[in-house]
């Protein structure tokens, strides 16, 4: 290894890591006093620091409007990190980590605040050349603040990397950079998403834009690609010749939990389907990428989105989508109120807390294979999973007359289940002979449990995502066209519901054409969701 090659790669890192190395930078968090910062971002950064993964010299600047000092801010963060960190907080490590945390007070719309932020960041670069003029701006504020923040960043010149403070000519050639991380929701519909993308991309290039979907940071979501493409066994079957249908479910027992202010404007379709579930759909149904570069992977995901059969009108929406809203019921034996009785919820709210839909992907691989997507609050059990249901074996030999024929609930088809959370893992249901003299066939489950087989706890999703943003690896972030395609798909549904609701509210059409079904909290959703599959001769998999 010759000295001249040290500049292109660090020879000491060989064998220690096969991932891009994160670069020290100034991480500016907008919305620093909010929930996300305290519950997720800072605990994630602390865990990275404790595990030695955080680039040394990383500086965190919290940008928010409340008046507080650096020390006050650090104290508050220490308290919340002790509550939410996945590992105990060690004092020595916290002291070392937190001394690089600062607080910058400003309103989001105040240009002066950004000018002074720029000065502060320049000074930090001077004080610590390892920062290299690199800035990562994290928008953890409410979505209504994104536009003023981005515009002010541009006005203050913060969309360009700072001036690295080094006399080394080679180092100066290395790029300082300026990146932006945007939390979901990215827009509220296609028009607003396009508008927001325009604002973002007029300030930051697409390669410097990181749209977070934290589901993608989960180990199990990342494992979908590994399962499909690192094993020869599945790919030959992963198509319409062998697969009958796919179900993607994200169920919660929780209700709106104090987020009514946001949820009333969002609903389950925008909150979960447009982003998380559609991301899982693309990972499950994509073609193998040519390589593992971010764009190759994301290109294939976008192809799935482009192949989604759009719902052209309200009739098709009504036929393929069921929306629901939880009524009072019981969760784990304890009574709970219905959605309209929750605090800050309009007693006549038409916001859906449940969505079930049937979608089709019209390409060679998937034509004719329905994908059923289901998401809901206050359901019987919490869990997110993808289940791939294979077609039945030919009705000959063992499948001609089996014990399962009289017990359809037991099922005879093979089912591969990828459990995203909790109880992360993969299981495969197969048919087996039941011991005994008679020929009886019954299902058995082969089960791999991620957390039990790999004893060490996985990093949290935000740890992985923050590291990737600092490393410049956008693979696990949504690209502009992914977001817009997903909005284009759900917009038709939202429009059909919205137009319908308006008709109802103005008494033009008091009977809403697209019903919002009640379901008791603690059930599996409205009966109409079961009928959606029953119409196809199928039923939902019980989690």
């Amino acid at each position: 290894m010759s000295p001249s090659s040290f500049l292109s790669s660090n020879p000491l890192h060989a064998g220690l890591s096969n991932r891009p190395q994160p670069q020290a930078c100034a991480l500016v968090i907008f919305g620093a006093t909010g929930d996300l910062t305290h519950r997720k971002l800072i605990p994630a950064l602390y865990n990275l620091a404790a595990d030695g993964h955080l680039p040394s010299g990383l500086v965190v600047v919290g940008f928010a409007r409340r008046d507080k000092s650096d020390d006050q801010f650090r104290k508050e963060l220490e308290e919340s990190t002790k509550k939410f960190s996945r590992q105990p907080v060690e004092d020595a490590i916290w002291q070392s980590f937190s001394k690089n945390i600062y607080y910058h007070r400003s309103e989001f719309h105040n240009a002066e605040g950004y000018a002074s932020l720029a000065k502060r960041l320049d000074q930090l670069d001077k004080d610590d050349p390892s920062l290299g003029g690199r800035r990562l701006f994290y928008l953890a504020a409410g979505p209504e603040q994104f536009e003023p923040i981005i515009e002010n960043l541009k006005s203050a010149g913060l969309n360009k990397g700072g001036q690295p403070s080094t006399t080394n000519a080679q180092s100066q050639k290395e790029t300082s950079w300026s990146r932006i991380v945007v939390e979901k929701p990215f827009g509220t519909d296609l028009e607003s998403a396009r508008h927001l993308n325009k604002i973002v991309n007029s300030t930051f290039s697409e390669k410097d834009t990181y749209r977070i979907d934290h589901f993608l940071g989960k180990e199990t979501a990342q494992n979908i690609m590994v399962l499909r493409f690192a094993n020869a066994i599945f790919e030959p079957l992963w198509n319409n010749r062998y697969i009958d249908h796919i179900e993607i479910t994200a169920a919660e027992t929780l209700g709106v939990e104090g987020r009514a202010g946001y949820y009333e404007t969002s609903g389950a379709l925008r909150d979960m389907v447009q982003n998380h579930l559609i991301q899982l759909l693309t990972l499950t149904c994509m073609e193998p990428p040519t390589d593992l570069s971010a764009d190759s992977v994301r290109d294939e995901k976008v192809r799935v989105l482009r192949s989604l059969r759009p719902m052209r009108n309200a009739e098709e929406v009504e036929r393929n989508v069921v929306r629901g809203q939880y009524a009072s019921g019981a969760i784990n034996g304890k009574p709970v109120v219905g959605y309209r009785e929750e605090q800050n919820v309009n007693p006549h709210s038409m916001t859906e807390t449940f969505v079930a839909m049937r979608v089709f992907i019209d390409n060679w691989r998937w034509v004719g294979v329905p994908v059923y997507i289901r998401v809901g609050k206050r359901l019987a059990k919490s869990g997110a999973e993808i289940s791939v249901h294979l077609k039945d074996a030919p009705k000959v030999l063992f499948n001609q007359a089996t014990s399962t024929e009289n017990d359809p609930a037991r099922g005879s088809s093979n089912v591969l289940v990828i459990r995203i959370q909790p109880d992360e893992g993969v299981s495969l249901r197969i048919q087996s002979k039941v011991p005994g003299a008679a020929l009886r066939i019954g299902p058995v489950k082969m089960d791999f449990q991620y957390g039990e087989s790999f004893g060490k706890p996985s990093p949290e999703a935000y740890e992985r995502l923050l590291l990737d943003a600092m490393s410049g690896d956008p693979t696990l972030f949504a690209r502009r066209d992914e977001v817009e395609q997903a909005w284009e798909f759900v917009d038709v549904i939202e429009k059909a519901w919205h137009d319908d609701s308006e008709d109802a509210s103005t008494d033009k059409n008091p009977q809403t054409r697209i019903p919002l079904y009640d379901y008791p909290a603690g059930s599996w959703g409205p009966i109409a969701a079961d009928e959606l599959l029953a119409a196809d001769g199928r039923s939902w998999r019980r989690l």
């Binding site: 660090n10 220690l16 002291q95 070392s96 390892s130 290299g132 909790p422 060490k456």
Partner: protein, 374 residues
């Protein structure tokens, strides 16, 4: 805070069984009437030792390792003083509660005690191989001195070979044995796990980390001196120290020359064209957990400095860099990758089993270290 699962530990050898009924007896372990247990296994781990009382000590180690790595463990103890010839066998399970508290996850253990002629190493393959879990990798931990006997049949099947060069009395001879093992199975060079090398992981990570940013990368070619602060009794044959030097020499392309300048009292010096390495004793008692290395301090030609120091109570690494070109001091504290508590050895082995790389870096560092042996 995420609650850690409860652990039920069984540190006895287990249930004594007949050699030819091991599989049957293992199945019986799973017939637990009022509990739900899952047999979990990702790998086979065989531990061989000829030391006294190794069976009990290794059972305890396996119990701790199994918390992180589901496995089938086979412990082989060659009893040093034995009058009779024979093989005694036990089966055991190491269980811990799953996160939801609903079932136990258990790893199996088979223990063999070899006495008399049964200790013949050539009989090992036939004893062990018939009890491996099929389709899963074979990790073999050879405790103590490496076998001088040619055990090609054994090594042909080993996927990862674990040992601890800190246990070697004659490092030069042991390295020779390791060379001949690797000559027989060259691919094993990439799958060697020396626990003495694994103990250096924190220092290697800290050093690699410091030189990662663009402003410090050029300093790699400016390293003038490296001081290793240690408490080894015989540093010139302490592979824990020499491996770190060997790693730097291999990674940075250093060429060995006679050391220039005199060494102080108690110091050992190694010379390279590019830099000088000095081993300095700090006078404290022998290191904990085999860690004789206490600190590494580097001085660059431009005056910049960087040091990594191991702190023990509480355990962390303290790093400090002084960059001359900007008069900046950078400090940080990093938690050790492998938790340094009473289970350190088990934690170290778990880390190797789960995360060690398949690359020749260790072997090349060892080759350099061998050249430094005095």
């Amino acid at each position: 805070m995420i609650q850690q699962p409860e652990t039920h530990e069984f540190f006895t050898r287990g249930i004594p069984v007949e050699l030819n009924s091991i599989d049957q007896e293992l199945k019986k372990l799973w017939q637990i009437s009022d509990q739900i247990a899952t047999r979990a296994t990702r790998m086979n781990l065989v531990i061989y030792s000829a030391a006294e009382h190794s069976l009990r000590a290794n059972t305890e180690l396996v119990a701790r390792i199994a918390r992180q790595c589901a496995m089938r463990a086979i412990i082989v103890s060659a009893k040093p003083q034995a009058n009779a010839t024979g093989i005694r066998t036990w089966v055991n399970a190491h269980c811990q509660m799953s996160k939801d508290g609903k079932k136990q996850r258990c790893s199996e253990q088979i223990a063999f005690q070899l006495e008399g002629e049964a200790r013949d190493l050539n009989r090992l393959p036939s004893l062990v191989f018939s009890h491996l879990d099929s389709d899963l990798p074979l990790n073999w931990w050879w405790q103590g001195e490496l076998p001088s006997a040619s055990l090609e049949q054994l090594f042909a099947w080993i996927d990862r070979f674990i040992f601890d060069s800190a246990e070697w009395n004659d490092p030069r001879k042991q390295i020779g044995i390791l060379d001949s093992i690797c000559a027989f199975k060259p691919v094993l060079k990439n799958s060697l796990s020396d626990l003495n090398w694994a103990r250096l992981l924190d220092f290697r990570l800290a050093l690699a980390h410091f030189f990662e940013p663009e402003c410090t990368r050029p300093l790699l070619e400016q390293i003038e001196t490296v001081e290793l602060l240690h408490n080894s009794e015989r540093p010139e044959s302490d592979l824990h120290l020499l491996l770190l030097i060997g790693w730097l020499a291999d990674r940075l392309g250093w060429k060995r020359v006679e050391a220039s300048g005199s060494a102080g009292s108690g110091e050992v010096c190694y010379g390279f064209e590019e830099a000088r390495v000095i081993l300095k004793r700090n006078g404290d008692p022998e290191g904990e957990n085999g860690n004789t290395l206490k600190a590494v301090a580097m001085k660059m030609r431009d005056g910049s400095r960087f040091s990594v120091m191991r702190h023990t109570q509480p355990a962390y690494l303290f790093t400090k860099g002084h960059l001359e070109n900007c008069a900046k001091i950078i400090e940080s504290r990093i938690a050790p990758v492998v938790t340094m508590n009473e289970n350190f050895t088990a934690n170290l082995v778990s880390e190797e089993l789960l995360y060690s790389a398949h690359d020749p870096i260790y072997y090349r560092a060892l080759e350099h270290a061998a050249a430094l042996l005095r």
